[in-house]
């Protein structure tokens, strides 16, 4: 991945050492941030616990209410946990990796003009943005999501073969790339506007919530929109249907369950193409 950041013509000769160099640079940036955040220990611990608590409260509310109803249109708590855990773990890992592209963070750099410093430094731009907001406090959410996912795998009766494990891992990777792409698009929009970026929240946070539950509970319109117009259903819903041995909707072929690792990177590639347009458009603040 780091190879693609190489924009310096002089290093084209040795792609491997350049990739290693850039990866090293990236981890240096992450380490610097992690260390600065860990200085205030109490503050860090509170933030870390607090950010997991919101997810915990949300999931707990659902889990506490479900017994009164029996099931969510035929889905048990374990089966929903599988979807919920997959979406949450992918989203929080994406948040860790792509936080720098998140519109609120990036727009601050664009508005204040500090985006110029990124452009001036002798390091690839995207690598610097990737390394510009690493919120270590989200690590608690990773553990929580892993716990929910583990419960889901155990309680749903999903048969965990190497094939299904690979399918779920591919689903997570696809989701990271997909939602990362949405963050990049949202961030790129801030080159033009500092308002109305909130519309992206519908797609990012809304999309995350949407795929946390089985998509057959939504009406036809919503489900088809998020299958064929915005290919969110391919990310985790279809893989989970397959793992649980349920048929795919609309008579889709089994192949559709395997497309997450393709759909996600395609979205990310499109997002970065848009990003390049945005960066070219950026003119600084004149300060």
């Amino acid at each position: 991945m780091a190879r693609s950041f190489n924009s310096r013509p002089g290093q084209k000769k040795d792609l491997f050492s350049s990739a290693v160099y850039h990866l090293h640079l990236y981890f240096l940036l992450l380490r610097a941030q992690a260390r600065s955040q860990a200085v205030y220990r109490v503050s860090f611990a509170l933030d870390a616990l607090g950010s997991a608590l919101i997810t915990l409260a949300e999931f707990a509310a659902f889990a506490l209410v479900l017994p009164r109803f029996g099931s969510l249109s035929g889905w048990t708590l374990g089966e929903v946990s599988l979807l919920y855990g997959l979406a949450e773990i992918a989203f929080v890992l994406m948040d860790l990796a792509f936080g720098g592209f998140d519109a609120p963070n990036l727009s601050q750099h664009v508005r204040s003009g500090s985006f110029n410093t990124f452009l001036l430094r002798p390091a690839p731009l995207r690598l610097q943005i990737f390394g510009s907001d690493f919120a270590l406090r989200r690590i608690t959410r990773v553990f929580l999501a892993a716990g929910i996912l583990a419960y889901g795998v155990g309680a749903s009766g999903a048969v965990l073969t190497p094939e299904t494990a690979l399918l779920l891992a591919g689903s997570v990777l696809g989701m990271i790339a997909f939602f990362g792409g949405l963050f990049v698009i949202g961030g790129t929009l801030t080159f033009w506007t500092v308002e109305s970026v909130e519309a992206m929240n519908v797609l990012t946070y809304g999309g995350r919530t949407l795929i946390s539950y089985p998509m057959d509970i939504y009406g036809q319109f919503l489900r088809k929109t998020f299958t064929y117009l915005i290919p969110a259903a391919f990310l985790s819903y279809f893989p989970v249907l397959h793992v649980l041995g349920r048929p795919l909707p609309d008579g889709l072929p089994l192949l559709a369950a395997y497309l997450s690792p393709l759909v996600g990177p395609l979205m990310l590639a499109a997002a970065f193409a848009f990003w390049r347009v945005g960066v070219r458009h950026y003119g600084g603040t004149g300060t």
Binding site: Y40, L53, I54, A60, A61, L64, G70
Partner: protein, 280 residues
């Protein structure tokens, strides 16, 4: 300090300068209308999440006509109400007062001839009404148009609901202010607030109607002020709670509002005693 600057009523004065607080509330109201475009997008986001929440609730109900006193239609109206109250009742958190303490702006507020708690209450009341008009009413109208959300029944229904909503705001404000007072003791008050807002979301019935929770959990929540911050109002609106039960609910809300306001005033006075603001 204040008395030396101006011969106006001291903060502990029982006399309330009503016109002053009325204009503070009016300004708090008007401030909400500064960014109409952002409000529109916020409305769209809230509506989308409303659709998702309705889908989950309707799927949970399945073919059951009624669960814990709620019909499917009640559950839909519940969703509309909670989505409408997000901003007015600051269900996702509120850190305005905290910020003035951390930045030291509280010092200039203290120089003014008013009671700090009453000043913030007035400002927040104006903010709440503004947000209810800007975000709440359109949301309710959309829910009524699209999903046939219902409204309180008759004059008594409206009276009880209105009183309950005012008390829910009062309870919520006192609680939020209390949480913000943590800023006097800690620079990490924002992190502390995250706990409070997560508990508020669960306990006030924002995430799920409290009636759907297991008995033991409802029993625990009954000892806390959180149901008074929204759930009581929603149940009175829906008519799930009526008659003497509704009046009892109002009494509980009133009691919590008084108690929390008292605690907030006490904690504020303790906090102000240890407040130090660097000049500059």
């Amino acid at each position: 300090m204040r008395a030396a600057l101006k011969p106006t009523p001291r903060p502990s004065s029982p006399r309330l300068n009503a016109p002053l607080y009325a204009s503070v509330a009016r300004l708090g109201f008007r401030r909400q209308f500064a960014y109409p475009q952002a409000a529109l997008w916020g409305l769209i986001t809230n509506l989308f999440f409303g659709v998702l929440r309705i889908s989950v609730l309707v799927a949970l109900f399945g073919s059951k006509p009624q669960v814990a006193g709620y019909t499917v239609q009640d559950a839909i109206t519940y969703t509309g109400l909670t989505q409408a109250f997000i901003m007015a009742l600051s269900l996702f958190g509120w850190t305005d007062f905290m910020r003035t303490v951390h930045r030291g702006e509280v010092a200039s507020d203290l120089l003014r001839p008013h009671n700090l708690l009453a000043f913030w209450a007035a400002q927040d009341a104006g903010r709440a009404v503004g947000q209810f008009v800007l975000r709440g009413l359109p949301m309710l109208a959309l829910f009524a148009l699209i999903w046939g959300a219902t409204f309180p029944a008759g004059f008594t229904g409206w009276l009880l609901t209105t009183l309950s909503l005012l008390l829910a705001w009062a309870c919520g404000f006192a609680f939020r202010f209390l949480v913000n007072c943590a800023a006097f003791w800690s620079p990490d008050a924002v992190g502390f607030g995250r706990f409070a807002w997560a508990v508020l979301g669960l306990g006030s019935g924002f995430l799920m109607p409290l009636a759907f929770f297991p008995q033991w959990f409802q029993g625990v929540l009954a000892f806390t002020p959180f149901p008074s911050m929204m759930n009581t109002t929603v149940e009175i609106w829906l008519g799930v709670t009526t008659g003497p039960e509704a009046w009892a609910g109002l009494a509980v809300q009133f009691g919590w509002a008084l108690l929390l306001s008292g605690v907030a005033a006490f904690v504020l006075s303790r906090g102000l005693r240890r407040l130090e603001v660097a000049g500059g």
